[in-house]
């Protein structure tokens, strides 16, 4: 592997990491202002730089003032806590979420100066299994954070969280199997390419049209995996203070919050890749737009790639905003309802979806 290839791989990894981190930060702002809009409040607005800014943008508050505040706060470790595990837990919460994005393609191939760059950090032939493996490791941050804190609230939150995450992982995996059966591959770039044709030359053949039920189950299970309302039982601030990260302060608490938002981005990224055509733009092919009726609007290669990356980003962002809307619309479930929904409704639905998909595939030969 030459120096250039290493550089390209590094640049891709860096770009994707930045995408997830910035998307999380912007989402935090969207959530604050969006929830204010939904609840008829003003929201975060008390921030200005030495009083010289012409308008008070809540954006500065969320993106600059808040992280500075968190960074400079005292880091409290409760008495009787397991110091090593208490320190390690926030890292274990953030790491699996960040590396999950490595398998998600954010564009087709980019050809520059004789180099063909696959716009995906890691072109794995078992991409979806990799994603499931990494997301299954995300439980440890929750479990250890709660246990190591030596606090009843934290431990209760951790126990709720681990049970919930294991339960919904199963429904999520089975929903993904339905989609995988349709496309016949686990490679996420291949799945993205398979969604490139159109019905009647007009409607893009996205996964959601083949697998609407799988999408529904995946989205619900995905929201449950991110532990956000209506599935925020592990945090449940009216019962458990803030659940598994009650005993965390400063940047470590921020790491748990970041992992929550980054998980939303990952769920949106997966849903985009499998059900909304990944980086595909409707009617856009490698040489430009193919309009119905045979007309072709030719576009240069760089413009096509740029449109693809923009398309992927917009779709992921839209799905993230949808999750925020869900969060501020629904009330919290009761714990037995969470378990019932996962095991008695989503799991059988996903299994039935698999069965029907299998039968259709066999009948179509």
């Amino acid at each position: 592997m030459g120096l250039i290839e290493v550089g390209i791989a590094g640049a891709k990894a860096f770009a994707v990491l930045m995408l997830v981190l910035h998307m999380s930060a912007v989402l935090l702002w969207v959530e604050r202002k969006g929830s204010a809009l939904i609840q008829d409040r003003i929201g975060a607005n008390r921030a200005n730089i030495f009083g010289v800014m012409p308008v008070n943008l809540g954006l500065i508050n969320t993106l600059v003032a808040d992280p500075l505040k968190l960074l400079t706060k005292e880091d409290v470790v409760p008495a009787g806590a397991d110091k090593l595990l208490h320190f390690l837990a926030p890292f274990l919460a953030v790491f699996p979420v960040m590396v999950t994005f490595a398998a998600i393609p954010f564009g087709d191939q980019l050809v520059i100066g004789g180099h063909t760059i696959n716009l995906q950090v890691a072109g794995l032939d078992i991409g979806i299994l990799y994603v499931l493996a990494m997301s299954s490791l995300a439980v440890y941050g929750v479990v250890l954070g709660g246990w190591a804190s030596n606090s009843r609230w934290a431990l209760l939150g951790a126990i709720r969280g681990s049970a919930q995450m294991i339960s919904y992982e199963i429904a999520m995996g089975l929903a993904l199997i339905g989609a995988v059966m349709t496309f016949g591959t686990l490679d996420m770039q291949a799945i993205a390419r398979a969604q490139g044709h159109h019905f009647f030359g007009l409607i893009p053949a996205w996964g959601v049209f083949y697998q609407p039920l799988a999408f529904l189950v995946f989205l619900i299970a995905g929201i449950a995996e991110t532990k956000r309302v209506p599935f925020d039982l592990p945090e449940g601030e009216s019962e458990l203070i803030s659940g598994y990260f009650t005993e965390y302060s400063g940047m470590k608490q921020a790491a748990f919050m970041l992992s929550d938002f980054a998980e939303s981005v990952v769920v949106a990224g997966l849903a985009t890749t499998l059900f909304f055509g990944a980086w595909q733009v409707p009617l856009l092919f490698r040489d430009g737009f193919h309009l119905p009726g045979g007309a072709i609007v030719a576009l240069p290669h760089l413009a096509v790639v740029g449109l693809q990356i923009a398309s992927f980003t917009v779709k992921v962002f839209a799905l993230c905003v949808f999750q925020i809307l869900v969060r501020w619309t629904l009330p919290r479930y009761r714990y037995d309802q969470v378990m019932d929904l996962g095991w008695k409704y989503l799991l059988p639905l996903a299994l039935a979806n698999m069965l029907v998909t299998g039968i259709v595939i066999v009948l179509l030969g």
């Binding site: 032939d125 078992i126 299994l129 990799y130 499931l132 493996a133 490791l137 439980v139 246990w147 126990i159």
Partner: protein
Amino acid sequence: MGAALFLLVAALTVVAALGVILHPNPVKSALFLVVTLFLLAAVFVLLEAHMIAALQIIVYAGAIMVLFLFVIMLLNLRNDDPERGRRRYVLRGLAWIGGVALAIELALLVRGASVGSAGSAPAGYGGAAAVARSLYTDFLLPFELTSILLLAAVVGAVVLAQKQRRPTLS
């Protein structure tokens, strides 16, 4: 490069495995087992068995070990040794005998084995398609039997976990 990486991962795996049996705290011991299983997955990746590596993490590191931790946390096990008195020494003696017997067996096996170069794996080896093909052709019967066994276990667990119905007067 490949050999150095393998040796590093293998050494770390052994260290983590030693941690499992030597650490007095049950939670830490279980965590060492998680690390061991994760590193085993890394060994599988180095052997081109990507599919097995992913399944190893999903099933063992990600699901089964979480349940282990869950139970340990619920029972609130701390550093105390459950076995005390004479019984403890008897158990220790038996463990030593078993361990030494295993070590001798392993030594005999290694002496008898011939270590040659395995050659490079064919393209697609260890991928989803290759594993699925051998699983559903050569090993179909064991595969299906295992699934029936697992189904029986699931049904059994559900029956055991059911709420106790009050005995009815008859």
